[in-house]
C-alpha cells in the first residue's frame, strides 16, 4: 500500500480515535512529558546541575549552592520556552484554521519580517540598544505586518489560500529588503541585529517575561474563546454564515488573538520559525481537525518541542549553544518535507 493511501486511511480513522477519555489521556501524557522537559531544561546544559541543588535554590535555601545564578537563568529561559512554544503553536493552529491554509505560519505570513524591520529601525534610527527596548518595537512591527498582509489579501478577495500566502511572501520579502537597506549602510546596527534575528529563549530575564506576560494571557484567552468560531470558519464562509456565525467578527477576533500571540512571542524570543507550522499538523494528524481538540494539544506540545530544541541546541555545541530558533527549523523542516511527501498537507 502506498504512503498516500496509508495517510488517507489514517486521516479517516483519526477523528474517531480521539474520544473524550482518549483526549484526556493524551493531554495527561503530554503534560507528563512537558514536566519532564521543564525539569530537563533546568538540569541539563553546558554544566549539569544536580536536581537536589535545583530544589534547594527554588525553595529559597540556595545560599550554599554555587550554581544558583545558573539555575535562575535556566528557570527564566524555561519559562520563556513554555510561553513562546505554547503561543506559537496555538497561533499557528488558529492561523491555519482562520486562513484554511495549511501553510500559514507567522514566519511565512510576514509577522517576523515586520518585527525585524521594526527592530532594525529601532536600532539604527532611534538608537535603541536593549532587549527590553526591542520588545515594544517588535510587537508593533509584527502587528502592523499582520494587519497589512490580511488587509491586502482581503482586498484581493480573501479566502484564497494562495493569495494570502502570496501577499504574505511579498510583504515579508519587501520588509526584509528595507531591513537590508538600513543594515547594509550601518555596521553597528547590523552587529546588534544579527544576534536578535536568530530566535532564542536564552538570556531573557524574568522581569522582561513579566512585561510581556499580559499579552500572552490576552492572546491565549481570545483564541481559546474563539475555538468554536474557528470550527465554523473551517467549513468555509458560506456555511459558517449559514450556521449563524458572524464571519467578519469571527475572523477579526481570531486574527487579533493570533497577531497578539505572534507579536508577543517574537518580541520576547526573536523570530522562531516552523514551530507554528509543524505542531498543529502533528496535533491534527493525531486528534483530527476539531479545533476544540487541536488547540489544547498544541498548548502542551508546542512548549515540549521548543524546550527540546533548546536543550538539544545547548548540548550539541557545548560550552556554547545553538539557538532554539535554529534548532526548531533543523528539527522541523525534515519532518515537514516528509509530511509533504506523504501528501498530508492537502488536508486541513
Amino acid at each position: 500500500m502506498s504512503a498516500t493511501q496509508t495517510a488517507a486511511r489514517e486521516e479517516r480513522v483519526a477523528p474517531g480515535e480521539a474520544t473524550l477519555p482518549g483526549l484526556a489521556a493524551l493531554l495527561l501524557a503530554l503534560l507528563v512529558v512537558l514536566v519532564m522537559a521543564v525539569v530537563a531544561s533546568i538540569v541539563l546544559g553546558s554544566t549539569a546541575i544536580p536536581l537536589g541543588d535545583v530544589v534547594q535554590v527554588l525553595t529559597g535555601h540556595g545560599d550554599g549552592v554555587a550554581d544558583s545564578g545558573i539555575v535562575e537563568a535556566r528557570v527564566a529561559r524555561t519559562v520563556v520556552g513554555v510561553l513562546v512554544g505554547a503561543a506559537l503553536a496555538v497561533a499557528g493552529a488558529a492561523m491555519q484554521g482562520l486562513t484554511r491554509n495549511p501553510l500559514a505560519d507567522p514566519g511565512l505570513l510576514g509577522v517576523n519580517a515586520g518585527a525585524g524591520l521594526a527592530v532594525v529601525v529601532a536600532i539604527s534610527v532611534f538608537g535603541v540598544g536593549s532587549l527590553s527596548g526591542y520588545v515594544w518595537w517588535a510587537m508593533a512591527g509584527a502587528g502592523l505586518a499582520a494587519v497589512l498582509v490580511h488587509a491586502l489579501a482581503g482586498l484581493a478577495g480573501g479566502g484564497s489560500p494562495l493569495r494570502l500566502t502570496l501577499a504574505g511572501a511579498a510583504v515579508a520579502a519587501g520588509l526584509a529588503s528595507w531591513s537590508s537597506g538600513l543594515l547594509v549602510s550601518s555596521k553597528q546596527s547590523f552587529d546588534s541585529f544579527r544576534f536578535w534575528q536568530v530566535g532564542t529563549i536564552g538570556g531573557r530575564g524574568l522581569d522582561l517575561v513579566v512585561t510581556v506576560l499580559p499579552f500572552f494571557a490576552v492572546g491565549l484567552v481570545v483564541v481559546l474563546l474563539a475555538v468554536r468560531r474557528l470550527n465554523a470558519l473551517a467549513l468555509g464562509d458560506d456555511l459558517a454564515r449559514g450556521l449563524g456565525e458572524n464571519v467578519i467578527l469571527a475572523r477579526a477576533t481570531v486574527a487579533v488573538g493570533v497577531a497578539v500571540l505572534c507579536g508577543a512571542s517574537t518580541a520576547l524570543a526573536g523570530p522562531i520559525g516552523f514551530l507554528g507550522l509543524v505542531v498543529p499538523h502533528v496535533a491534527r494528524s493525531v486528534v483530527g481537525p476539531d479545533h476544540r481538540r487541536v488547540i489544547p494539544v498544541c498548548l502542551a506540545a508546542g512548549p515540549i518541542l521548543l524546550l527540546a530544541a533548546d536543550i538539544v541546541g545547548r548540548l550539541v555545541a557545548r560550552p556554547s549553544e545553538v539557538q532554539a530558533g535554529i534548532m526548531t527549523a533543523v528539527i522541523g523542516v525534515p519532518f515537514f518535507v516528509v509530511l509533504v511527501r506523504r501528501g498530508r498537507m492537502a488536508s486541513l
Binding site: 484581493a156 502570496l166 519587501g174 529588503s177 547594509v184 547590523f190 501528501g343
Partner: protein
C-alpha cells in the same frame, strides 16, 4: 461565418472553400488571430530598445559622465588624450556592471517566468522556492568559513543552488502533484537554509557577516570580466534550449495531461524546469539573489503582452529592471551606495502587491 459553423454539412471543413466564399470574413479572422502575436512582438521590440537604453544610461551617466562620441574609441581600446582615466573607469567599472546587470536580469526574468508558467503557480519563483537560498547558504559559508575569493564564490553558490534543485526534483518525482509538492518542499528548505545562514552570521566576525549581508541582498559590485564571461557563456548555451521550451509554454500551462493530449512532447516541461534552475543558479551565483526580479518579471510581461506569457518579454523586463535599479541604488541617495537587491526589493514589493490585489479583483491568479 457563425451560420456556417453551425450547419452540420461542415462548410468550414475546407478552409480554401471558405476563403473563396467569404474572403472578407476569413481575412478578419486571420487579422484577429494575428493581433495578439503582433502585440507580443511589439512589446518585445520595445523592451529590447529599453534594455539597450538602460545599459547606455548606466555606462554614460552618473558621477562620471562619458560622452557617447567618446564611448566607441574607449571600447576599441584607444586612449583619450584629454581624459587619461576615462578608459579605466569605463572598462573596469561602468561597462562590467552594466553587462553583469543585463545578463543577470535576463537570466532571472526568464527563469522566473519559466518556473511560474510550467509549475502553474505564481509563487514559484526561485526566490521563494529555495534555489536562491541554496545558493546563498553555500556562498555565505564559503565567504565566512572558507574565505572564498574570486571565482570560488560563484562556484560554491552554484553548487548550493543545484543541490536544492536536485532535492526538489527528487521529492516531486513520480507524483501527480509534482509541481505543488516542489513548491511546498522548496519553501520548507528555504526556511531551513535561512536559519543556517542566520546561524553562520552569528558565528563570524562582523566584517565577514557584513560582506555576507551584501552578497545576500544581491549586488553587482563584484562585476569582473571572468564572472561576466562565465555568465555570458551560460546564457548563450541555455538561451537556445529555453527558446525550444518557450514554444511549449502555453501548452504546459494547461497541465501535464492536457498538454500531452494536444501534442506537446512529455519531456519538454521537465526540460524547461531544468534550464530554468540552471539559469537561476548561474545568475544567483554571479550576483547574489536579486530580490523580486524573477518573481515580478513574469507577471509584468504577461500584463504587457495582454495576458500571454512571454519568456523573452520577461527576460528583457528583468534586464531593464536590474540595470536601472543598480543605477538608482548608486545615485538615488547621495553618498549611499545601495546594493541593487535593496532597490528591487523596496520597489518590487509594492509592485508585487499591486499585482496580487488587481489579479484578485479580476478574479484570476
Amino acid at each position: 461565418m457563425t451560420a456556417d459553423v453551425l450547419t452540420p454539412t461542415g462548410a468550414c471543413a475546407d478552409p480554401r472553400a471558405v476563403a473563396a466564399e467569404e474572403p472578407a470574413d476569413l481575412a478578419r479572422v486571420v487579422r484577429a488571430r494575428r493581433r495578439p502575436t503582433r502585440r507580443v512582438r511589439l512589446v518585445i521590440a520595445t523592451l529590447a530598445v529599453a534594455a539597450v537604453a538602460a545599459v547606455l544610461v548606466r555606462v554614460l551617466l552618473g558621477d562620471y559622465v562619458v560622452a557617447l562620441t567618446d564611448l566607441l574609441p574607449i571600447l576599441r581600446g584607444e586612449a583619450l588624450p584629454d581624459a587619461p582615466g576615462a578608459s579605466f573607469i569605463v572598462m573596469e567599472a561602468k561597462v562590467p556592471r552594466a553587462l553583469l546587470g543585463l545578463l543577470a536580469g535576463l537570466a532571472f526574468g526568464a527563469a522566473g517566468a519559466m518556473f511560474q508558467t510550467t509549475l502553474r503557480n505564481p509563487l514559484a519563483s526561485p526566490d521563494i522556492i529555495g534555489i536562491s537560498v541554496g545558493a546563498s547558504a553555500a556562498a555565505v559559508i564559503a565567504l565566512t568559513f572558507l574565505d572564498a575569493q574570486g571565482l570560488w564564490l560563484p562556484a560554491a553558490a552554484l553548487v548550493g543552488a543545484v543541490a536544492v534543485g536536485l532535492l526538489m526534483h527528487a521529492v516531486g518525482r513520480g507524483t501527480t502533484l509534482a509541481g505543488q509538492r516542489m513548491v511546498l518542499v522548496g519553501i520548507g528548505v528555504a526556511a531551513l537554509l535561512s536559519s543556517v545562514i542566520q546561524f553562520v552570521m552569528t558565528r563570524t566576525s562582523i566584517q565577514d557577516a557584513q560582506a555576507a549581508l551584501v552578497w545576500l541582498t544581491g549586488s553587482l559590485a563584484r562585476a569582473t570580466w571572468p564572472v561576466i564571461g562565465m555568465l555570458s557563456v551560460a546564457v548563450l548555451v541555455l538561451a537556445p534550449l529555453l527558446a525550444v521550451c518557450a514554444r511549449w509554454m502555453r501548452l504546459a500551462e494547461l497541465g501535464d495531461d492536457l498538454s500531452a493530449t494536444l501534442g506537446a512532447p512529455a519531456g519538454r516541461a521537465r526540460l524547461g524546469l531544468v534550464v530554468a534552475v540552471a539559469l537561476a543558479a548561474v545568475a544567483t551565483s554571479a550576483t547574489g539573489p536579486i530580490a523580486f526580479v524573477a518573481f515580478l518579471a513574469g507577471p509584468i510581461a504577461r500584463r504587457l503582452c495582454g495576458g500571454r506569457p512571454s519568456l523573452w518579454a520577461a527576460a528583457l523586463i528583468g534586464a531593464v529592471v536590474v540595470v536601472l535599479s543598480d543605477f538608482a541604488g548608486d545615485y538615488l541617495i547621495p553618498d549611499v551606495n545601495l546594493p541593487v537587491g535593496v532597490v528591487t526589493g523596496a520597489l518590487g514589493a509594492p509592485l508585487m502587491l499591486a499585482v496580487v490585489v488587481t489579479a484578485g479583483r479580476a478574479g484570476k491568479a
